[in-house]
């Protein structure tokens, strides 16, 4: 599984959605991605890439695309 697949998988796992749907998601788009679901997503991402995110980044991560850029630019994940 490449990193993009792992990244997508974290969203699928956290929110129980299909990969196609995951790729267009933004915070609060679906009931599962509320502030409770958000912390679940962060755990999935941290486990998948063995990273520890800053609290400030956690609250900024507001969409699939934003998270992808953030993990690439700030956490050195090849995405």
């Amino acid at each position: 599984m490449d990193n993009l697949e792992k990244y997508t998988q974290a969203f699928c796992e956290a929110f129980e959605v299909e990969p196609e749907q995951a790729k267009n998601l933004k915070y609060q788009d679906i009931p599962a991605w509320d502030s409770v679901g958000h912390m679940g997503l962060i755990s999935c991402l941290e486990d998948a890439f063995d990273i520890v995110m800053d609290p400030a980044d956690i609250i900024e991560l507001g969409s699939f695309d934003l998270g992808r850029t953030m993990l690439r630019d700030k956490y050195g994940v090849q995405l």
Binding site: P31, V36, M39, S43, E46, V52, D54, P55, A56, I59
Partner: protein, 386 residues
């Protein structure tokens, strides 16, 4: 109180559009929100804070008709405020009776309810995305000043079901979630029957031997379901490097004759934790928390202010005098909760001179006002427990 002779019809907004007012609030509040949270001295802060609070009052007066009427009936024009303490305060109980909101319904993002038992009315707090995010950012800045910037393994002294009810977002849920930002590898110490899961906790701790571990819970629950439970089991936990953050009120513990010293002694005896921080805060101003420093003082961050008021005439009390706590915060943008009279009694202890080095005011809470309801987050479970 400022008396204005202006008798303009209170329902006619005299300001330009909301966007411009909001921009002005953002601009004026930025210096108080973006610096580390305890770096402004009283003199420097006072002018900046008053300006920002004035802009915020203007925004709420424009956007919330009830708030506009309240200011009008008090004869106050936000533009003429020269001191923060001149701004009328709303009693927190008002948020139980009225839906006070400063954003169009379409922009609402979450409704927070204060703690309360089924027989009591709860406050309703309306948040848009900006206010919700501001609260989280402010919480991070404030709490990081006490626990450091790194996220730590987190032991939550609560049960997993506290996060289940997502529709009705209660203050206890908000507290657990808010502090989850500081944790990684979260472990709930209790099951849904409020039983301490000693084996699960020990196994969690054994994975983090020698590390700093963060514990978060409501005061009453920490005592009842951790300290007392460990006593009954005759067990201790190896948490010498732990940091405990707890809040939500002392009323039910004081009823059991447990004071701050007894609490800290019990926590130390059963877990080895010596780094304990109480915090004071309320759903009506969530995100604004007053955290206890290593010298036992609750500190006011730069983006907030407190006043202690005489219960008879609401005049300001001096340092060391007991009175009702008024809290001001620059965070509430989507509801007029920026200046509130609480139902708590407190004492202003000092300003800019705490030995911990944090600038700003520091105070202590003495308890709830005699007639006020039992209402702290920590007391919610106490009141409903059999």
């Amino acid at each position: 109180m400022l008396k204005s002779t202006d008798s303009a019809e209170p329902d006619s907004p005299v300001c330009p559009e909301r966007g411009a007012l909001l921009d002005e609030v953002r601009r004026l509040a930025a210096p108080l929100l973006e610096a580390p949270p305890f770096t402004l001295n009283g003199q420097h802060k006072s002018a900046l804070f008053t300006k920002a609070l004035r802009a915020l009052s203007r925004l709420h007066a424009y956007s919330c008709p009830q708030y506009r009427r309240i200011l009008h009936s008090e004869g106050v024009d936000p533009d003429t405020l020269s001191e923060t303490e001149q701004l009328p305060f709303l009693p927190t109980a008002l948020f139980k009776r009225l839906k006070l909101c400063s954003v169009p319904e379409a922009e609402l993002f979450k409704t927070l309810t204060s703690s309360g038992t089924t027989s009591q009315l709860r406050s309703q707090i309306f948040l848009d995305k900006e206010s919700a995010q501001l609260q989280q950012r402010a919480l991070i800045r404030t709490v990081s000043s006490f626990i450091g910037p790194a996220r730590l393994p987190l032991l939550i002294l609560d049960c997993p079901s506290v996060l289940k009810n997502r529709e009705n977002f209660a203050a206890r849920t908000a507290g657990v979630l808010g502090f989850s930002l500081f944790g990684r590898e979260r472990c709930f110490a209790l099951n849904d029957d409020m039983q301490l899961q000693a084996e699960a906790v020990e196994s969690f701790l054994s994975r983090h031997l020698g590390e700093r571990v963060l514990l978060f819970g409501f005061t009453y629950m920490v005592w009842q379901y951790l300290v007392e439970a460990l006593r009954r089991l005759g067990r201790t936990l190896p948490l010498e490097r732990g940091i405990l953050i707890h809040g939500g009120g002392w009323k039910s513990l004081r009823a059991h004759a447990v004071d701050e010293q007894a609490f800290k002694a019990g926590v130390l005896e059963r877990t080895g934790i010596s780094e304990v921080h109480d915090y004071y805060g309320m759903a009506e101003q969530s995100g604004t928390v007053y955290v206890e420093c290593e010298h036992g003082h609750l500190h006011v961050p730069d983006f907030a202010q407190i006043f202690i008021r005489d219960p008879h005439d609401f005049g300001l009390c001096g340092r060391g005098e007991r009175g009702i706590v008024e809290v001001c915060s620059l965070l509430p943008r989507s509801y007029p909760g920026h200046c509130l009279l609480t139902e708590d009694e407190g004492v202003l202890l000092g300003e800019d001179d705490c030995p911990c080095g944090r600038l700003g005011r520091y105070f202590k809470i003495c308890g709830r006002l005699p007639q006020s309801e039992l209402r702290g987050c920590s007391d919610t479970y106490a009141a409903t427990a059999p």
